[in-house]
Amino acid sequence: MSGILIVGGGQAAVQLAASLREYGVDRPIRLVGAESWQPYQRPPLSKAFLAGRAQPGDLLLRSMDFYHANDIDLVAGERVVDIRLGACGGVAETDSGQRYAFDQLALTTGGGPRRLAVDGARLDGVHYLRDVADALRLRADLPGRESVVVIGGGFVGLEAAATLRAQGLTTTVVEAADRLLARVVAPVVSDFYRSAHQRRGIDVRLGTSVEAITGDRGRVTGVRLADGTTVPADLVLVGIGMVAHTDLATRIGLDCRGGIVVDEYARTGHPSVVAAGDCTATRLPGAGLVRLESVQHATDQARVAAASLAGRLQPYRATPWFWSEQGDLMLQMAGLVTGHDRVVVRAGPDPERFCVLYYRRGRLLAGHAVNRPADYLAVRQALSRGASIPPDLAADLNTPLKQIPTEPVPCT
């Protein structure tokens, strides 16, 4: 059997397989994932799942019936370790020695947590949070623990910190940059999150790097910071980013720069190979090489990749969107903030409800809304239409954003 081989078993993989069938592809489709679980959703791992309100079975992306009904051969628990690629097609080999031939290949290999390289990083009680196995380990380690240090003030770290704080743990967040979420949001949003988490009892340490994790008899006891102080902890969670899995792509000679380089059709440099999801670095017109780690990107790029495999090219034009649920704070983001020169804040009396709109030369780039879903939606819909919301009107909270006439954006 030849056909289409999808390497990886996450959100992009499942969407790619589903879209291939929707596009009428009737060739064999095989999906090989390294994890032993049926493909599942990752976002709840730092929230409901960590809080014990969801079980692995609750996270499944699709039922087994779906794979059967669509004739998708789902292989879980096998890691592809080698790929040999010819001019048209090739063979993949897994860690169990299985060999799968293909004539088209889709890489949806995702990524793994960036590892902390300090003394003590391998002590018991030091956790990462990327997949179900990580989350189950962390959950199993919670009973009786009283304090946690979260290393990294990004989305995963802050979501988990909020969840663990709500469970009563003494929680400290340590961030090397001088503000939270520094890579993705404006300072006004960073400052909000610092205050909001402090109000909920989280100790937030900014501009602070970790020198070592201290332990006793193999078990973590605290985190020693660069200023010499040690924060006691009986749990440590490291959330310092994701590293794309590009080994296989590199091995078959594909261009990789922090991710597998693909064009706006999700095509790699090889005519038989596409890639989608967290593992990619995408060349987008006018934006250069973009790395996005999100459910939206995984699913939208998977649709594009499936279309390319089906021979009906459709460019990636989706408006990026993202959400982060940190306790009772729902952050919804649309667009990309890269290169903004102005921000407009829509805020009222409630400090935990506001929206920040980002502009470059008067043109709307993105919006970040905290507990203001209507504002988020107005921004997303304007961006999807290629329109802008006039910045001078956007700050007026008395006018719903969606009622402000959008202005077309001249082509540049």
Binding site: P43, D58, L60, S63, D65, V295, Q296, T299, L377
Partner: protein
């Protein structure tokens, strides 16, 4: 065991037995009911699990919060008075026999 009837845009009806505590979205996804995408997995941030609930069930449904109300405005298919996001509809014994119609598109 509450039963839910899902009618797709072509009029095909699927009857699925759920458990109290399931959401109408989860039950559909788990059983491969077409017409519900649920891209965000139930966080109420994507509006791709939009359904039209048969009117006589309206007063038995959980109330709509602001998040759902606002996100419904972003659904791909037209919003109607009986529109809900199915990830916000948790099944109870009283909802046995719930009947929902999925729109022609969610994206």
């Amino acid at each position: 065991m509450p039963k839910v009837f899902y009618t797709d845009a072509d009029g095909v009806v699927r009857a699925i037995d759920g458990e109290v505590g399931d959401t109408v979205m989860e039950l559909a996804v788990r059983n491969g009911v077409p017409g519900i995408v649920a891209e965000c997995g139930g966080a109420c941030v994507c509006a791709t699990c939009h359904v039209y609930v048969r009117a006589d069930f309206g007063d038995r449904l959980p109330p709509m919060d602001e998040q759902e109300d606002d996100m419904l405005d972003g659904a791909a298919a037209p919003r109607r008075p009986e529109s809900r996001l199915s990830c916000q509809l948790t099944l109870t014994a009283e909802l046995d026999g719930l009947s929902v119609t999925t729109p022609a598109t969610q994206l």
